[in-house]
């Protein structure tokens, strides 16, 4: 295993389409729920323990080698908002392109054939981690970090928030991210032994509701 591959996969510049998505931050900013770094921290904490945890467990399970089709269905079942399901599949397709170019292998080619319109991004992330020689823990870390770094970067653009404050938020969340990663990896291990119902199904209802509203805005900076 190479640990350095994790840096490549987790790099914010990895060309997988994430830059056009705010992880719900744009809707939250417009609703007045994020207006400063402290709000951003609350928002990211909420995301980490809900959408982040689910994404982390799905990624870890995919990295363990669980059936991608079943994992994709499990992701669907855990994503009530059609707009978010669409965004997750688009991002999954874009990530798959970058992953196939970076770590070419028959398994990723097979996923491209099975999911021409994309599989859920966390599932693809786990498979990409696997192709890069990484394990379930690294896959979970990647998914969890993305779940908070996306909104943080977007908020810097949306509010002209001081970028040092936004980065400070991410740094302060790191110990919590460690804990959630352990939970996600444990759940993936149980899912391998007992079935996918062991995967967490935590949800942030406001994230889902706001995503639906956001998708209908006539003018917006981010795709989701």
């Amino acid at each position: 295993m190479t640990h350095a591959a994790l840096l490549v996969l987790a790099d914010g510049r990895f060309p997988a389409g994430g830059h056009a998505h705010s992880g719900g931050a744009e809707a939250a900013v417009k609703a007045g729920r994020i207006s400063c770094a402290a709000d951003l921290e609350d928002f990211c904490r909420g995301r980490l323990h809900t959408a982040g945890l689910v994404a982390g467990a799905l990624a870890a399970a995919a990295a363990l080698g669980l059936d991608p089709r079943e994992l994709d269905a499990a992701a669907d079942a855990r994503t009530p908002s059609p707009a978010l399901r669409l965004a997750a599949r688009r991002l999954g397709r874009q990530l798959l392109r970058a992953a196939r170019a970076s770590w070419p292998c028959p398994e990723l080619d097979g996923i491209a054939r099975s999911f021409p319109k994309g599989a859920h991004q966390p599932v693809v992330l786990g498979l990409a981690a696997r192709a890069a020689g990484l394990g379930p823990a690294e896959a979970a870390y990647c998914a969890l970090y993305e779940s908070v770094s996306g909104p943080a970067t977007a908020t810097v653009r949306l509010l002209s928030l001081d970028p040092f404050d936004a980065t400070g938020v991410l740094a302060r969340l790191a110990p919590e991210l460690d804990a959630v990663a352990r939970t996600a990896v444990d759940a993936a291990g149980r899912a391998a032994a007992e079935g996918l119902q062991a995967l967490p199904a935590a949800s942030g209802p406001l994230l889902e509701i706001m995503a639906e509203a956001h998708a209908s805005w006539p003018a917006r900076l981010f795709a989701s």
């Binding site: 060309p15 990530l95 392109r97 170019a101 990723l108 491209a112 021409p116 006539p218 917006r220 795709a223």
Partner: protein, 225 residues
């Protein structure tokens, strides 16, 4: 090509010049340049001029609305299924250069749904003078500036002005009203670009987009030969 499509399914990297079935894919031409320089108007004029002889489609990269795509739809320059808008997350240059995945998806989907296509025009959102297209996304790029943006822009250079395969100096009809010196702009552009072509155009004039359309046809001939 380094990928064997018959065994590996869809290509991973879309700079590949061939479709999965081995035929040559559509030529992709990017149009970039500052806000308001006339990129969308040039795309619309090109569509009107070329749509009867070529199978073409357009991808727009609006910054925060679907205005450009909607303008093209309203003007009915192409059927709606041939126009796709990509959302760029506040950074149009990222979507055309650093992370081209959403644009690649858009061009592939167009080829799949309305193809086979001869030509896809990829229009960038209005950006700065350093915004250029990735070679992984387009095969050639046009940079559009206009006389009202200041006649010193060609002299200042920058990646768009200096390296684009074609530089358009647009709205030449406005030159007398904004005090721009067309001869100076042409000479400065020539100095920056050596042998690379420059076209001075006014879409309100008689010849309109004809010269640019001829350049596009030349590129297409070279692409398919």
């Amino acid at each position: 090509m380094h990928l064997d499509h018959s065994h590996h399914g869809p290509a991973a990297v879309s700079a590949d010049a061939h479709r999965p079935d081995g035929t040559r894919r559509a030529l992709r031409i990017g149009l970039g340049g500052p806000v308001g320089s006339g990129k969308t108007a040039t795309v619309a004029a090109l569509c009107r001029q070329l749509r009867d002889e070529l199978s073409l489609a357009v991808v727009t990269n609006d910054i925060y609305t679907r205005e450009d795509a909607e303008f093209l739809l309203r003007e009915a320059v192409l059927p709606p299924e041939r126009i796709t808008a990509v959302e760029t997350g506040a950074c149009p240059h990222t979507a055309i250069r650093d992370d081209i995945s959403a644009n690649l998806e858009a061009v592939e989907d167009l080829e799949e749904t309305v193809g086979p296509l001869d030509l896809i025009l990829v229009e960038s959102g209005g950006d700065n003078l350093t915004a250029t297209f990735s070679k992984g996304l387009v095969d050639a790029q046009i940079f559009v500036i206009d006389v009202a943006g200041g006649d010193d822009i060609p002299r200042k250079g920058g990646p768009g002005v200096t390296t684009a395969d074609l530089l358009i100096v647009n709205k030449t009809d406005l030159a007398p009203y904004v005090g721009s010196d067309l001869a100076r702009m042409a000479a400065d552009a020539k100095a920056q670009r050596a042998e690379l072509p420059v076209i001075l155009q006014s879409l309100r004039g008689d010849s309109g987009v004809t010269e640019v359309a001829a350049w596009v046809r030349e590129r297409l001939t070279a692409w398919t030969s």
